[in-house]
Symmetry: none
Subunit: 229 residues, 2 copies
């Protein structure tokens, strides 16, 4: 006989497949059909369609937290922090539909798993605080990091046509980290070079210089754009 928890898992997997296929919504009928049971079993196991969705989100959080546990915990908490951000983005890209359910929920009954996940982040940040590199309390830093990280992830997921910068995640991550972590991250020389190139390009576009010809300026602007990234 199929155990109740096993059936529950099979329905969750079926629901997850349907969600990934349709993108944002599923049908209880289709889920039951895929598993080969009637609809009442769904309502006995999950009580409600919202219950099924909540279970789906919880299942996603389970997988996410499990994944985070497998991340190596090194003796450099800041490096762990960076790895955690990157893993967050990777999870979002690999599971777009569930990620949206997890981190862009509708108003309504809240789930407790996000709190646990935020506490996990706070734990890493407390190790940073013990290392003496944190500028603010771990709780505040966790909110900033999580908010910015989900923003980047949702942006990449929802509008890949608008958010085309391959370094978007790394850039925002470094900026937010720099605002929370005191360890001075000096700008590499090529960064300053890029900034200067961007500035010069803007100035040239505003008012072209007279010492250079039109064609030369066109090529110059092209190179400056390349230098600016």
């Amino acid at each position: 006989m199929t155990n109740s928890t096993e059936l529950r898992l099979r329905m969750l997997q079926a629901a997850e497949i349907q969600l990934a296929a349709s993108g944002n919504d599923i049908s209880t009928r289709a889920v039951c059909e895929a598993v080969g049971v009637g609809q009442p079993v769904l309502y006995r196991l999950f009580g409600d369609k919202a219950g099924l969705m909540s279970a789906l989100v919880d299942h996603g959080y389970d997988r996410f937290i499990e994944r985070k546990r497998h991340l190596a915990k090194t003796d450099d908490p800041v490096a762990d922090l960076r790895a955690g951000w990157n893993d967050h983005i990777a999870f979002a890209v690999e599971n777009p539909a569930i990620y949206r359910l997890m981190f862009s929920p509708t108003l309504g009954p809240q789930i407790s798993a996000p709190r646990a996940l935020l506490d996990l982040l706070t734990g890493t940040l407390e190790r940073c605080a013990q290392a003496g590199v944190l500028l603010v309390s771990p709780a505040l830093a966790a909110q900033r990091i999580r908010a910015a990280c989900t923003g980047v992830a949702l942006a990449i997921l929802s509008r890949p046509d608008l958010y085309t910068d391959p370094d978007l995640s790394d850039s925002v991550r470094d900026s937010v980290f720099a605002g929370c972590i005191g360890a001075s991250v000096q700008l590499p020389p090529d960064r300053r070079l890029g900034g200067t190139a961007v500035q010069l390009a803007a100035l040239l576009r505003e008012g072209p210089a007279s010492v250079l010809g039109a064609e030369e300026q066109r090529l110059l602007l092209k190179w400056l754009d390349a230098l600016g990234g």
Copy 2:
């Protein structure tokens, strides 16, 4: 006779009210009932429920862009940038349901309004670039700022119980800005171009860039020297 566009507007307003009330979903029947028309008019005006939703989102973007136009454009582009971020957050808090529709869309047919809004941000950033305070290209900076800003807004909207820091928005804003904006060195405009060229030439001579070939850099340096005086 009620004009067609006026009827359209009334239905949009009714839909917006219902959306704000229910939080995340509306019923075509309820919208038509509220306006006092049959359902076929909705399908004649919007073609589809998705069409109604898209029109709702477009309407939200219209209001948002109109609001941004009324923001004073001062001679300090960085201050304008900060005001724009704060206005974004304020709009999200004042219109949570529509904001979610606008900035956390489901997969599917994309709307063009977000692009226009991102271009508006890019415009302000180009003014920053002309002032010489931008470290990266306006397009890249716009992506970082918009992604982080929507992340903060969605976090505050979706989980106010988790994101309790009243300074969350300001903190993330300042961090992200710090990653895109350098210390401004205000020089008279006519001298800024030459000075920037000299600075870029010095940086290039100190450490050549990898994105340009040797011959290209030689010519670039020649032009930069010409620009510098």
